[in-house]
């Protein structure tokens, strides 16, 4: 019996997860770990043998895999030998073919960065699995699932939305940037005093002051404004 079904993108981000068994995997983000593990193994296989991994057999868990373009579909069964799960080969191929059609319909590739574009195809995939009687306990809701995944990923990398989106190295860069601009401002100010120029020229320091304080605030708040506007984070 297939107990878990998962779809992951080429970066190892789970797009779909379903478990028939009573498990806390969904709450604990175990599927995220599984996805990373399988992505790493798949990349190893591609680099070492230019091939695909079709089956991973562990003592208590077997993973059957199929590629849907750049994406991976995974069927998991526990407490059954690898001989049993390979019987699902035609089904997983059908599932992969279904996904290929869906991705084409929604014009999605493995390079797609905005994961919410996968909401509808994944919801449709859930319906497809229900038709195939592979999903009995229907609990999948794409937006909720996506939010859980991002929550786990954000936590694991140390990113906190609206609070912290840069690591120590990036903070130090912004501190240096801030001091450099404040120093520029000081040089302008010193020149005005030294050459007794018009005091109104002081307002030329507005720009270096702004950039200087921007650097310092980014350092103190552990927050990069450019990252925020570009919808990224740099936790290094």
């Amino acid at each position: 019996m297939i107990e878990e079904i998962q779809v992951i993108n080429p970066g190892g981000i789970p797009l779909f997860y379903h478990s028939e068994a009573e498990t806390d995997a969904e709450q604990g983000g175990t599927y995220l770990l599984q996805a990373s593990f399988i992505t790493a193994l798949t990349q190893f296989a591609a680099e070492l043998q230019h091939g695909e991994i079709k089956l991973i057999s562990m003592e208590r868990k077997n993973y059957l895999m199929a590629k849907a373009n750049d994406f991976i579909v995974i069927f998991t069964s526990t407490d059954e030998g690898p001989d049993t799960i390979v019987n699902y080969q035609p089904t997983i191929t059908q599932a992969a073919d279904y996904l290929i059609t869906k991705f084409a319909e929604f014009n999605l590739t493995g390079d797609e960065l905005i994961v919410d574009k996968f909401d509808q195809p994944m919801q449709d995939f859930n319906e497809f699995l229900k038709e195939k009687d592979l999903v009995k306990k229907d609990t999948f809701e794409a937006p909720v699932f996506r939010r859980n995944v991002s929550g786990f990923v954000f936590k694991s990398v140390g990113y906190e939305p609206g609070k912290c989106n840069i690591g120590q190295a990036e903070r130090n860069r912004r501190l240096s940037f801030g001091f450099a601009w404040l120093f520029t401002s000081f040089v302008i100010y010193a020149a005005i005093l030294l050459f007794e120029l018009d005091p109104l020229l002081i307002f030329v320091t507005l720009i270096p002051n702004f950039l200087g304080f921007l650097g310092l605030y980014q350092y103190f708040y552990r927050f990069c404004t450019t990252n925020a506007l570009n919808e990224t984070y740099t936790m290094v």
């Binding site: 993108n9 970066g11 190892g12 981000i13 990373s36 992505t39 790493a40 990349q43 190893f44 680099e47 070492l48 960065l113 905005i114 994961v115 919410d116 996506r146 939010r147 995944v149 991002s150 929550g151 990923v153 954000f154 694991s156 990398v157 939305p161 609206g162 609070k163 989106n165 401002s185 100010y189 005005i192 005093l193 007794e196 005091p199 109104l200 002081i202 307002f203 320091t205 507005l206 720009i207 002051n209 702004f210 950039l211 200087g212 304080f213 921007l214 605030y217 980014q218 708040y221 927050f223 404004t225 990252n227 925020a228 506007l229 919808e231 990224t232 984070y233």
Partner: protein
């Protein structure tokens, strides 16, 4: 090979959550505003200081 493996964690940034994006934008604008106000205050202060010094 190693390059591909190293890029796995970095590609976690593919996960973009709309609530996170909104929170981040709000914070970015707050920092811009704070920097602007501080920069203006600093420049005005310097101006007043200079005017007094040059007198």
């Amino acid at each position: 090979m190693s390059e591909n493996l190293i890029t796995i964690p970095a590609r976690y940034s593919q996960v973009v959550d709309e609530f996170a994006v909104k929170k981040d934008r709000r914070k970015a604008y707050q920092i811009f505003a704070l920097s602007g106000v501080t920069a203006i205050a600093a420049s005005v202060l310097l101006y007043l200081l200079t005017v007094n010094l040059l007198q």
